[in-house]
């Protein structure tokens, strides 16, 4: 019998398609900021919709692996995960797809096509709008920290410019830690210069507020969620990532303070 006609091989290929499709949904959720427990539940829901049982799931920082089983056949497959970010609308849309798939009646092709459509068509805010919003968030953080009104505008502008350039650098594939250091330096310098020019009394606070767009709030809470949910390895990896981002950001602001003579 040819290998292509072997029912075991055919069944394995079917199982592989189920596993790969479920893993793709998990990868999108993970790259969109979902915690490990949510990713695992989503993957399990899709597998259940295909009529297969999930025996095991494992998430690392850069990969997800799953073992599926049906009628004495078992396979294990792994999928690479890309850079972890936050995309709420895409995350939510994929979760809704998981719920639909679990109810049954969706083929592998339909789920695959829907995943591709969601990735392609889920709207994102325009970069200029995101930059303005993030700049406003930095300036608001500044007010919460005690930045005076004179520095409010410079912090807004510095945060917005920093976010706009960060967006383009990340799209060009520049290393995320280098981007954090460079944007911290740029935004802190711009915020500091603006605050000095307007004779603000809170120049150092303004410089710090200008870089708060870099603080990875979602990954830091996800780190804790993962540990609390029983995934300490992933939680620890996220925490180390947060620490590294903050180290690079602090290095950037340190250079900016040196440049503007704030450290003496």
């Amino acid at each position: 019998m040819e290998t292509g006609d072997d029912p075991v091989v055919i069944r394995h290929r079917e199982l592989e398609r189920y596993a790969n499709t479920a893993l793709k949904a998990g990868r999108i959720m993970m790259e969109s900021g979902a915690s490990v427990s949510v990713v695992h539940r989503g993957i399990t829901m899709i597998a259940r919709g295909f009529g297969v049982e999930t025996i095991g799931l494992r998430s690392g920082y850069t990969s997800i692996a799953m073992t599926v089983h049906v009628a004495d056949q078992t396979i294990t497959r792994m999928l690479q995960v890309g850079r972890l970010g936050v995309n709420h609308r895409l995350d939510l849309a994929v979760r809704q797809l998981c719920a639909r798939a679990e109810r049954g009646g969706m083929s592998v092709e339909e789920v695959e096509a829907e995943l591709a459509r969601l990735v392609r068509e889920t709207p994102r805010h325009a970069p200029w709008f995101t930059a303005l919003a993030v700049g406003l968030a930095c300036a608001s953080f500044g007010r919460l920290l005690g930045v005076d009104w004179l520095a409010f505008g410079p912090v807004w502008l510095a945060g917005a410019i920093g976010q706009y350039i960060r967006h383009h650098l990340l799209h060009r594939g520049v290393n995320i830690f280098i981007v954090a250091g460079a944007i911290a330096f740029l935004s802190a310098t711009l915020g500091g210069l603006g605050a000095i020019a307007l004779q603000s009394a809170t120049v150092q606070l303004a410089m710090m507020a200008s870089i708060l767009l870099l603080v990875p709030g979602v990954p830091s809470t996800n780190a804790q969620t993962d540990i609390m949910d029983g995934y300490p390895t992933m939680g620890s990896a996220r925490a180390v990532w947060v620490l590294m981002i903050m180290l690079f950001a602090a290095t950037g602001i340190w250079f900016a303070e040196e440049l503007l003579g704030m450290r003496s």
Binding site: H88, P123, A133, M228, M246, W254
Partner: protein, 155 residues
Amino acid sequence: MWDFLPHLLHQALFGAAAAAGFGVLFNFGLRALPWCAAAGALALMVRTGGLDLAWSLEGATFAAAIVTSCAVSALRRVLGPACNAVALAGCIPMVPGAFFGEALLGFFALTAPHPADAAEIFVAAAEHIIRVIFTLAAIGAGLAIPAQLLKNQDF
């Protein structure tokens, strides 16, 4: 009480703006952004009230995260599976990024060849990093406990 009100409103307003701004970065839809802003305002109001009652920053942050998480859980019929994410966005303005930066800058300063007041710098940096850890833990626990107990749906 009336002396405190302008400060409370100020914190709520900028908590709302910070949460909504980060909501845009996290790609929340335009209809969800007012909920992020409301969650941010609520979180900052509770934390500011707690600090005014002389609670520690960590205690006030924990209370704020719990209240925010409970409030969005009460709205879960309206918000659906997004409710946990809205609570998280609301708590983003309480993430102690500035403390984290100050702590790391303090440790950097200790690496100078002959730092002046090394002990003071070290204590200040250590204090900042401890506050960062405890405040992040307060936010995480405050968000997670109501969501777990009330069984908020994720899907």
